[in-house]
């Protein structure tokens, strides 16, 4: 009993239709440790976690908690067994306050007011035990991602979770927020909690975990002490092949500003506004935009790509004005001027989920003579184009008829990028190039961006992932509360520097 694992999985299997998401997964997590789980997109991480949390029923295999075999029919069983989970996509009711979200399902009293007061007392204790400080009475929709995540964690702790499952918790956090999260994780561990930690970022594995399990194509391919391994080895295990970066970055020479924003003001969402933005992107360079999610990067992309009006100022592309207080150029026209746009939120904007990959292959270009004339679609041409994209980008599975939704994030992104670079654009505007995309795809995409840059294109990249920006950008501008707080050459940039600026510290601005 003493040497029993806090949580253990034996030969867990789960299929969806023909997809074997999990195949004989084995997992052993000793109590009071932080256990990392890594794997490509679609490797089966979330599926595994969802089974551990009772959301999915395993086709076969056992789950043991502290040595006891468990049969979870739904999450309440898992919670009763002391398991809590923070999901890849938060499970919060947006209009509800933090407090309401936390007690939902564990209210105790049937009288809501009474329940809230009881909960409040208990929460305050928990909060100073773990050094939280959450605005309990603010609606969640008004809170930043980081705070929401803490609410999710507190929610789990409130339910007395001893084992905490975190599915890609850092995907959306700033470096500072990540640091705070790691601190919290260590603290929880010191308090004897057990933590499962899923991430695509290997340095995070190195930073917080004690042991790590690698999953590939639904199978456990390795389990080892973090101390005995290194990122390169893990990457290899995940992808099943050496990950090498092909393209070298050649020194660029900048003359013409392909894109220029001059004193631009615009209204953003949730009362945010863009305040006199001045930016230049030159041919042959990558300008990275760093910033905590919700500080105006999204709005910036939208005003450049003709999806949002500017209140003051001008945006030039090449020589031409593409936007000012009176003008918004239709995206179709912009594409015809040589601007390509990889949307920040793929599923929300970049593709039409329910449509086939083929239909998605012309999204935004449906009006080009190549694909339609006299208003009639040229189906053959479209099919050929789609097939070509699948080949050049090695999109899998090789079937353009499938709805885009049934492709993994990485493959969707590959298709989108193929679509956008196909017409050899002069300017590429890219939001979150590799969000939720696995290592293999990440390197490929980074290589392509660099290739385009070397081919003399102007590229603007918005990303929440600082490593990414540092590795592909020539210059990095940082946004905070709708302003550009500073721009610097990549050589002078460091994570901490950027992090501070993202937090609104202008001193670093050069």
């Amino acid at each position: 009993m003493t040497n029993a694992f806090a949580i253990e999985a034996r030969g867990l299997s789960k299929s969806f239709g023909d997809v074997k998401a999990n195949d004989q997964i084995a997992l052993k997590v000793p109590g009071g440790t932080v256990h990392g789980i890594v794997g490509e997109n679609g490797a089966g991480k979330s599926t595994l976690l969802k089974m551990l949390f009772g959301l999915y029923r395993a086709d076969s295999g056992d789950i043991l908690v502290c040595g006891q075999t468990q049969h979870f029919t739904d999450p309440s069983d898992a919670m009763a067994a002391g398991i809590g989970m923070v999901h890849q996509h938060f499970m919060l009711v947006e209009p509800f306050t933090v407090l309401e979200n936390i007690i939902l399902g564990a209210e105790g009293s049937a009288n809501l007011d009474a329940a809230k007061e009881a909960a409040r007392a208990k929460l305050l204790m928990l909060e100073d035990q773990f050094g939280f400080n959450l605005p309990l009475d603010t609606p969640v929709e008004k809170l930043s991602v980081g705070v929401r995540q803490r609410a999710e964690i507190l929610k789990a702790l409130y339910r007395g979770a001893e084992i905490l499952i975190l599915d890609e918790p850092t995907a959306v956090l700033t470096p500072q927020e990540c640091e705070q999260l790691f601190a919290l994780v260590r603290q929880l561990k010191d308090q004897g909690k057990t933590i499962l930690f899923v991430t695509h970022k290997l340095h995070e594995i190195m930073a917080v975990t004690d042991d790590v399990t690698v999953i590939r194509a639904g199978k456990t391919v390795a389990e080892c002490k973090t101390a005995d391994t290194n990122p390169e080895e893990l990457a290899e295990l995940m992808v099943g092949a050496k990950v090498v970066r092909k393209t070298a970055r050649k020194q660029h020479e900048t003359e013409i500003a392909r894109l220029r924003l001059t004193d631009v003001h615009a209204d953003g969402d949730h009362g945010l506004e863009l305040k006199d933005i001045n930016l230049e992107v030159f041919d042959g360079e990558v300008l990275g935009i760093a910033g905590v999610a919700g500080n105006g990067q999204t709005e910036l992309l939208e005003i450049i790509t003709g999806l949002r009006a500017v209140r003051e100022g001008v945006i030039h592309m090449g020589g031409e004005i593409i936007a000012n207080d009176r003008l918004v150029t239709n995206p179709i026209a912009l594409r015809r001027m040589g601007m390509a746009h990889v949307a920040e939120d793929r599923l929300k904007t970049g593709v039409v989920e329910s449509m086939s990959a083929r239909d998605n292959a012309i999204l935004g270009y449906q009006r080009e003579k190549e694909f339609s004339s006299g208003g009639i679609l040229k189906l053959k041409a479209i099919a050929q184009k789609a097939a070509a994209y699948f080949e050049t980008q090695d999109v899998r599975p090789r079937n353009p008829d499938l709805p885009i939704a049934s492709f993994s994030g990485g493959n969707q992104q590959k298709l989108v990028i193929a679509r956008e670079i196909a017409r050899d654009p002069q300017l590429m505007v890219i939001g979150q190039p590799t969000r939720g995309v696995d290592i293999g795809a990440v390197t490929k995409i980074h290589d392509q961006i660099t290739e385009l840059r070397n081919a003399g294109k102007a590229i603007l990249v918005v990303s929440a992932d600082l490593d990414e920006l540092l590795s592909i950008s020539d210059r990095i501008a940082v946004m905070c509360e709708g302003e550009i707080v500073g721009t610097m050459n990549v050589e002078d940039a460091t994570e901490t520097k950027l992090g501070l600026m993202m937090a609104g510290d202008k001193r670093e601005a050069s």
Binding site: D74, P75, S76, F96, L104, L112, D113
Partner: protein
């Protein structure tokens, strides 16, 4: 004074007209808050009206009628629930189907049981919820203003109208002050969150449908055993759709919904009052145009609430728990 009494009369009629509306609207509200769109209110109302009248006619007791009415409506609500939850069917089509099926079924059964051509026998007073005169109503009648207000407006309605008045705060309380209410609002916004919190989405939605069924049942019963004295084919006359509109004005909140219903009731009463009356300047408005009043008003007000459509996010979409 003339104007004052006129107003009293209009408002008195407003209360009566609004009763079935507000009950149905609350039913729709509870259903949609749980994530199920219910345009089958019309059908449930009609079914309840028939069942209530039939039972009251047979047993001679309005209470039996109310019981039957509520029963019929709850059955249909559960059917709609089953289609929406278990069958993941299209909720609007299901609602329409129920409306059409009932429009056919009620008269068919009425014929079969009473051979009165799609009607139930007229109900005697003992088989109806006849008007209740509140204490002192007559005594106070002569007291200026308050007296009139009390005896004309407040007093002299049928039991279900008073019941409705009591149910509105009750529903509001249920929605905002109870654990059940919290979960109900949550499941309409984000069923996944509810599911991962270990609460059964399915059960919650069925519970909501039962409540909706009961409310809608009362609304139907008042038609045939309160305001009217028997069932006549199509007697719901579009009230179900109007209730739906009221709920949307009320932006899925009980009190604003109530106000919307009162507004409709008032416009409807006014509409009748304006018929054949020559207005200054305009002159006499053709009946057909006074008839349009409530509907035109609805559209105008809807247009007023630009973008204020805070419908429960998950309403209308079946929850697919994937395993």
């Amino acid at each position: 004074m003339e104007f004052f009494t006129d107003m009293i009369l209009l408002m008195d009629s407003t209360l009566r007209t609004a009763t079935p509306l507000v009950l149905a609207a609350l039913a729709g509200l509870v259903a949609e808050r749980s994530g199920i769109v219910d345009i089958g209110l019309e059908g449930k109302m009609l079914a309840a009206a028939f069942a209530a009248a039939a039972a009251a006619a047979v047993t001679g007791s309005p209470w039996m009628g109310m019981l039957a009415g509520v029963g019929a409506s709850v059955f249909l609500a559960l059917l709609h629930g089953w289609v929406s939850i278990a069958q993941r069917g299209n909720q609007i089509v299901s609602g329409m189907a129920i409306n059409i099926a009932v429009a056919g079924l009620a008269p068919t059964l009425a014929n079969f049981w009473f051979q009165k051509g799609g009607q139930t026998p007229l109900l005697g007073d003992e088989a109806r919820f006849s008007t209740i005169t509140l204490p002192f109503a007559d005594a106070l009648a002569d007291v200026p203003v308050i007296g009139a207000l009390y005896s004309e407006l407040i007093s002299g309605h049928n039991l279900i109208t008073y019941l409705a008045a009591a149910l509105i705060p009750l529903v509001a309380w249920m929605l905002y002050k109870t654990r059940f209410g919290l979960r109900l609002r949550a499941v309409g916004e984000n069923p996944e969150a509810v599911d991962t919190a270990g609460i059964s989405v399915t059960l919650l939605r069925y519970q909501a449908m039962v409540i909706a069924g009961v409310l809608c049942g009362l609304s139907g019963s008042v038609l045939s055993t309160g305001l009217g004295g028997g069932f006549i084919r199509d007697m719901s006359a579009g009230k179900g759709y109007l209730a739906l509109a009221a709920m949307i004005f009320g932006r899925w909140k009980p009190v604003p919904t109530l106000l919307a219903c009162l507004l409709f009731g008032f416009v409807d009463a006014l509409q009748g009052r304006l018929q054949g009356v020559a207005l200054p300047l305009i002159g006499e408005i053709p009946v057909q145009f006074t008839m349009m009043l409530p509907y035109v008003l609805t559209v105008v007000i809807l247009a007023g609430f630009a973008g204020r459509m805070d419908a429960p996010k998950a309403s209308g979409t079946p929850y697919e728990k994937d395993h």
